[in-house]
Amino acid sequence: TVGCVAVDAAGNLATATSTGGLVNKMAGRIGDTPVVGAGTYANALCAVSATGKGEEIMRHTVARDVAALMEHRGLRLRDAAARVVAGAPRGAVGLVAVSRTGEVCMAHNTTAMFRACATEAGHEEVGIWTD
């Protein structure tokens, strides 16, 4: 699975996710990526793209939950993402997210996630494991 989230200079948010699915999966099995609110979601507050074990990401509506915690609980992006990732089964979820204010978050409860981010302020990060 691959994905990207972005907020542009005008404050518009968008997300995109794409995948080949699960190796050796049953033909016809659909994962979290195309299920809006599970692996992919964006609203006016944030944009989210998730990866990991699709069945768990769907059960926990990961992408929508991050947005909902911001929308209904007023959590900051980082706190909302941390709450959702901590609440999902260990080893099952990774996500990248960006907020309308340009905050970036890359959270996962797996041993690794291939990830990268950059901001206009100059912050840049590329990584696999959490050092």
Binding site: T1, V2, C4, V5, A6, V7, D8, A9, N12, L13, A14, T15, A16, T17, S18, T19, G20, G21, V23, N24, K25, M26, G28, R29, I30, T33, P34, V35, V36, G39, T40, Y41, A42, N43, A44, A47, T51, V93, V96, V98, G102, E103, V104, M106, H108, T110, T111, A112, M113, F114, R115, A116, C117, A118, T119, E120, A121, V126, I128, W129
Partner: protein, 160 residues
Amino acid sequence: MGWALALHGGAGDVPRTLPPETREPRLAALRRCLDLGAAALRDGRAALDVVELVVRELEDCPHFNAGRGSVLTADGTVEMEACVMEGATLRCGAVAGLSTVANAVSLARLVMEKTPHIYLAFDGAEAFAREQIDYTQPMKGSQQAPQDTPAPADDNSQTG
């Protein structure tokens, strides 16, 4: 705080002993895609264009499980899926069960922009993809835009 972007490949139990010949091409691809997306945002491109641009680049990279690098099902086939979503409008498009489309993310965006639906899958999605290719042939100019036949007023065919 200005523009920002983040991108990902897979997440899971990746051993730290990953050999450099496996690790480095992936890191290089992440850096290349990050630079591509950051340059586009710096040039004032819209977020929706940038996420499609970056994911297409990742789909074309054989080191990630999407597009060219997609894994195989138990039947030895490829079934790709993708989704795009725009925050301000909540517009979204999604595809699943694709095996002949090079960039599933762009087809998902076409579903969002050229159909009244959110989700197309398997044969219907493949047929829509072929239609889009036909539509972009040189004869595009002579192509009549499909006439919108008005939905019957009194039926409920427009609800789930």
